[in-house]
């Protein structure tokens, strides 16, 4: 049923329809609305049987999810930013043990400097922790990906992270098609665990493994993700058949068939990119986009096919790998090994900096002229950067960066943007 609803609410309702038996949650913006809504659904009895566990930290949230999943319960949690970092050790345990937990990451920047706004620094920091990572382009897709994620996780016995842009998606109210419980039940059958902690049939999970088999056990997580490269498109095709819309899959192309310039990105910024592409297409520019939905596993072959015909690829990403530059772009370059084309990395939207059509248009025009540098910071205020660099050069005790630069950037108020 079509409803005008907040993204967080829609995701909460979708998760509830997946019938999780244990939800553990610790509040952190911008994820909080999701678990708040779920806690209400549990309290009112709309979601039952389900145990909602208020935990004392994100480390505990993931630990409780691990314990619940190991007993054969369908387990869910959600987090963001520092919360994700605080559960890192447990994240590796969930994937190493092969427990099919589903978690929403409402993407948010990581401090310092402390910042609650959106970028992809949090989930990108955990790209190699063994979890599958799916990135939602819209709120509709965020909802849909959660339903697919439980099936994907449980078929492979591996955990799945659904990443959705904090605030930009989680707090946006828009038209979303909410499926019926019967539709979700038909698509997502009950969880059949590969391993169960059961007092009546005791086993142990989590044995210490020495050099004789450690690499082999670790490899299994990789093998599962490689098989996810086949399963993810199958689940998306099943989903299309059952729900009548395109959602999920590995990558999605937009007007890229004859494109000389292809923009690669993840998440909600793809919508703004598509609108910009439509305008540039009207001006005659051959430009398209490829959105990456599955960042882990990384679809090397599919991206190679989708990008090989372009003259240049612009990777626009919302995270910065300090000391090298791009994260997504490094992965995309691997997909393009041996293919001669221009590759550009653009870091954009860090800490919630708006990514505007105006800036994208100028950026893409510059790229089409091959006038971009290898690493670009979109809409960077170089003036305050250079002033701080000069301050550092002139005085040993130049003081804290953030405070200095805030003074230079002037007063902040809730103005037009």
């Amino acid at each position: 049923m079509l409803r005008q609803v907040e993204g967080s609410r829609a995701v909460a309702e979708a998760v509830a329809m997946c019938r999780p038996e244990v939800i553990c949650a610790y509040p952190i913006s911008p994820q909080t609305h999701i678990v708040e809504n779920l806690s209400q659904l549990v309290k009112t009895g709309e979601l039952a049987p389900c145990e909602f566990v208020n935990v004392e930290s994100e480390f505990a949230a993931m630990s409780v999810a691990i314990g619940a999943s190991a007993t054969g319960a369908r387990a869910y949690t959600a987090t963001a930013s520092q919360g994700l970092l605080y559960m890192v050790e447990a994240l590796y345990n969930a994937s190493g043990l092969g427990l099919p937990i589903v978690m929403t990451v409402a993407n948010r920047a990581i401090g310092a400097p402390i910042n609650i706004w959106n970028d992809h620094s949090d989930s990108m920091s955990q790209r190699d922790c063994g979890w599958i990572q799916l990135y939602a382009e819209t709120n509709q897709e965020a909802l849909d990906l959660h339903i697919q994620a439980f099936r994907l996780a449980e078929e492979l016995s591996t955990p799945v992270m659904v990443c959705m842009d904090g605030f930009i998606l989680t707090h946006a109210v828009e038209r979303i098609d909410i499926p019926s419980q019967a539709q979700v039940d038909a698509y997502l059958t009950p969880f059949v665990p590969r391993q169960v902690l059961d007092p009546d049939a005791p086993i142990s999970i989590g044995a210490m493994v020495g050099p004789e088999a450690f690499m082999e056990v670790k490899y299994l997580a990789h093998a599962k993700q490689m098989s996810a490269l086949e399963l993810i498109p199958e689940l998306a095709a099943d989903f299309r058949q059952a729900f009548g819309r395109e959602s999920g899959g590995l990558i999605r192309s937009y007007r890229s068939e004859d494109a000389e310039t292809i923009v690669v990105a993840l998440g909600s910024v793809l919508g703004t990119i598509q609108d910009t592409i439509d305008e540039l297409r009207e001006d005659g520019m051959k430009i398209g986009a490829v959105g990456i939905t599955s960042f882990r596993p990384f679809p090397l072959e599919q991206l190679r096919t989708a990008l090989a015909g372009a003259q240049r690829v612009v990777v626009l990403e919302k995270a910065l790998a300090v000391g090298i530059g791009g994260i997504v772009s490094a992965n995309v370059r691997m997909a393009l090994a041996g293919i001669a084309l221009h590759g550009y990395t653009v870091i954009a939207g860090l800490g919630g900096r708006p990514i505007t059509k105006r800036s994208l248009r100028a950026l893409f025009l510059e790229a089409a002229d091959d006038a971009l540098g290898p690493l670009t910071f979109l809409d960077m205020d170089w003036d305050i950067v250079n002033r701080e660099l000069a301050r550092m050069a002139s005085s040993r005790r130049s003081g804290p960066h953030a405070e200095n630069m805030l003074r230079d950037s002037g007063p902040v108020a809730a103005g037009p943007v």
Binding site: L2, R3, Q4, E6, P30, I116, W117, N118, T138, D165, F167, I168, H171, A172, V173, E174, R175, S268, V269, G271, T272, Q274, D275, G352, P354, I355, T356, K357, A413, A414, G415, P416, V417
Partner: protein
Amino acid sequence: MFQVRIHGRGGQGVVTAAEMLSVAAFNEGRHAQAFPSFGSERTGAPVVAFCRIDDREIRVREPIMEPDALIVQDPTLLHQVDLFGGLHRDGFILINTAKSFDELGLGEFVAGFRHERLLTVPAGDLARAHTGRPVPNAALLGGFAALSGLISPDSLAQAIRERFAGEVGEGNVAAAQAAHAWVADELRELSGAAAG
């Protein structure tokens, strides 16, 4: 696409106003996207929320920098925040106040705008009369429906009732209807003045 930017202060229901406007548009079968300016939602602090309305899917995710309409829930923001940034000269402005644009000191600023698109309405007073609280958001939307013709009073009333149950909902619907009537009267006076 029609883009609305709503300015106010934390506690005045700015984010809820954008949400209800989007629901009203949705009730008319249109696509709408409402979202807050994130992070600054503290009581009394300047808050901005946005609403886009279109007949096709809305993909763009940037803040609204060139609005077609501005709704100002708190006139004390006039001298604190760049409220009018990006507004074009055909744009609509609706301000919650019993004063006129001239009395607010805006007469000169809006000289180049279309006068039938600039109005003030004492939405806080109307809200107090009908709900007992001076939260002006629903009343302003009623006034905005009359000023812009963008949404019907009926779909707005439905949106308000979906958001607020019972007495609160009915009080806000009444406030919205009163503001709608107020603005419609003002518009009639303006067109009468223009004709006469």
